[in-house]
């Protein structure tokens, strides 16, 4: 049997060997023991804090609340933190705050009670989290810009069509008016066409503004069909240029979804762009994309983009949504990863399945309101 002094030395050795900070306090909050890890975490020596109230290790807000939690526990036995542990902000001797995970235990049988606090430094984890978040934000931005660049090229082409028609009609009118026996009805018809084509160009530009507006954290109840139809002219234009037939099949009476419309549109553009790239090979016929919306079960609205390309090989399927994984020469490997992130942040899912008889289907599901 070890003697009392021996037990104390063993206990001290255990405490000092611990990687996490360990603080023993009495029922009034006075610090009774402060292990080596705690000393290096807080910058206090044991001598400096033993006998002082544990509040010296806390921020003002926590310090005020701490006395209350202790008093309530002593009075009612209701634990605020004991047995659960939570993330708190601790304060160093030099005044700097840092995040810790605090778990608290009660020394069994001690009367009045004594408490043991274990402090796990979260600074490194927190920094990693922040780095990840910054990276995510940057990726979202990069991906958005890449898509925007492509959208801009597409829009330029689409706007050019009505502009060309307007130019032709106007120049024809100028010439027709010169003739002594000018046919006024023909000229009137041409002027009407000019107005109609100007509206068409305006609609396209309007749609671009909708897509390019700043990310709106405010999600609104929107119809997935309306979001898709806003993109339709753009998608059809892209498909037409790629000599792909693109069919849209809208489900009827779909419930609304709570979404950031431009983010969802970005995902759809991304999926269609992937499909077009998959269909870009030379002699494959027929080149088809089918976009459909439907109610999936009772709780999800689904939007599906299917193509008639070669599909995706088994080895690739597993890594499909992995960031920076790509099979394309000029790919960033971010498109699908970002798309999935966006859909999941809306509480939904983005999945792949093979398309019969050949090709790929990507299905995004969003919870209905």
């Amino acid at each position: 049997m070890p003697t009392g002094a021996e037990t104390n030395r063993i206990l001290q050795a255990i405490l000092d060997a611990a990687v996490d900070g360990v603080v023993l306090i009495g029922h009034t909050g006075l610090i009774e023991a402060f292990n080596r890890a705690a000393q290096s975490l807080f910058g206090f020596s044991a001598e400096e804090v033993v006998g002082k109230n544990v509040r010296v290790l806390m921020t003002e807000g926590d310090a005020a609340a701490h006395d209350e939690h202790m008093a309530r526990y002593l009075r009612t036995g209701t634990a605020h933190i004991i047995g659960r542990g939570r993330q708190v902000i601790a304060r160093r001797k030099d005044g700097r705050d840092f995040p810790v995970f605090l778990s608290v235990g009660v020394v069994p049988g001690a009367q009045p009670p004594r408490f043991l606090g274990f402090l796990h430094d979260l600074t490194a984890e927190r920094q990693a989290d922040e780095r990840n978040q910054r990276l995510q934000e940057r990726l979202t931005h990069v991906s958005r810009l890449a898509t925007l660049g492509e959208i801009a090229a597409g829009i330029a082409h689409e706007v050019n069509q009505p502009l060309a028609a307007i130019t032709n009609y106007a120049q024809a009118c100028v010439r027709l008016l010169v003739a002594p026996d000018a046919d006024i009805e023909e000229i009137r018809e041409a002027l009407r066409e000019i107005a109609g084509q100007a509206v068409r160009a305006g609609d396209i530009v309007h749609r671009l503004r909708g897509i390019a507006r700043a990310p709106d954290p405010q999600r609104r109840p929107l119809s997935i069909n309306s979001l898709l139809m806003e993109l339709n002219e753009l998608l059809q234009g892209q498909a037409r240029r790629a000599e792909v037939s693109c069919t849209v099949d809208l489900g009827s009476d779909l419930p609304l979804v709570l979404v950031d419309g431009s983010q969802i549109q970005q995902v759809v553009l991304n999926l269609v762009r992937n499909a077009l790239e998959a269909l870009a090979g030379p002699y494959r016929t027929p080149k088809q994309i089918l976009i459909s919306t439907y109610l999936d079960g009772d709780h999800d609205v689904a939007l599906e983009v299917c193509d008639s390309a070669e599909g995706i090989s088994a080895g690739t399927v597993e890594r499909l949504f992995e960031p920076f994984f790509t099979t394309k020469e000029a790919g960033t490997g971010l498109g699908l990863a970002m798309s999935r992130t966006i859909i999941e942040s809306h509480g939904g899912r983005l999945d792949y399945r093979p398309h019969a008889p050949q090709g790929s289907c990507f299905t995004l599901r969003l919870p209905t309101l």
Binding site: A153, A156, N160, T167, N168, A172, R175, L176
Partner: protein
């Protein structure tokens, strides 16, 4: 037959899948008195195309189904002479370059000034007239050559390869006088007024592979 072709008024064909672009082009060409026919797809154009009809083709590069470039290749395969003016949208320069390499007459980027298009169309129609006249000329020469007797044909080949009458007479085993008679008949049948012209005709047929 040659004269009826000459009399046909040239037609301008427009092939563009965009309704507005197509009908505005037709109106523009009509406003300058050109006879324009508009079609919405390459297939539509091909199924009604008459190679005997002089004219030119104003063609959109990008179309669903058969693209403008593919239509051009189809026409090339059929040996069509119709000049093609390509209309390209934004950023289609590489396609335009390819079209030019395959013998396109010219290309224009949308939107364009009416004067630019009309000038190009007029030049294209001029080219079509010239090449059709050339074709008629060639087929005429070929017909005339077919009308020569075997002996006259021999004389034609020898004359145009530069052989003097004396050498020809020896080669053919006839008198120099006989050669001279054959030679006069060849000149007359071929419609050549000089040896130089006769040589040009033969070279022209040879260059065409005929």
């Amino acid at each position: 037959m040659a004269t009826t072709m000459k009399e046909r008024a040239p037609a301008v064909y427009i092939v563009d899948d965009d309704d507005a672009v197509r009908s505005s082009l037709r109106l523009l060409l009509k406003s300058v008195g050109l006879n324009a026919t508009a079609q919405g797809s390459a297939q539509e154009f091909l199924s009604s195309y008459d190679p005997q009809q002089p004219g030119c083709l104003v063609l959109d590069v990008r179309m669903p189904g058969m693209s403008g470039l593919e239509l051009q290749q189809q026409l090339n395969l059929r040996g069509a002479v119709i000049p093609v003016i390509f209309i390209t949208g934004h950023g289609d320069v590489p396609m335009a370059v390819e079209a030019m390499q395959h013998g396109a007459f010219d290309f224009l980027q949308k939107p364009f000034r009416d004067q630019d298009l009309i000038e190009r169309i007029q030049k294209a129609l001029e080219r079509d007239r010239t090449s059709r006249a050339q074709l008629r000329e060639r087929s005429l020469i070929r017909e005339r050559r077919e009308s020569l007797t075997p002996r006259e044909r021999e004389v034609l080949d020898l004359v145009t390869s530069g052989k003097p009458n004396k050498v020809m007479a020896a080669d053919l085993g006839v008198s120099q006088r006989t050669v001279e008679i054959h030679r006069a008949r060849v000149m007359e049948k071929m419609g050549a007024s000089s040896l130089a012209q006769l040589v040009r005709m033969v070279l022209d047929l040879q260059s065409e592979g005929g």
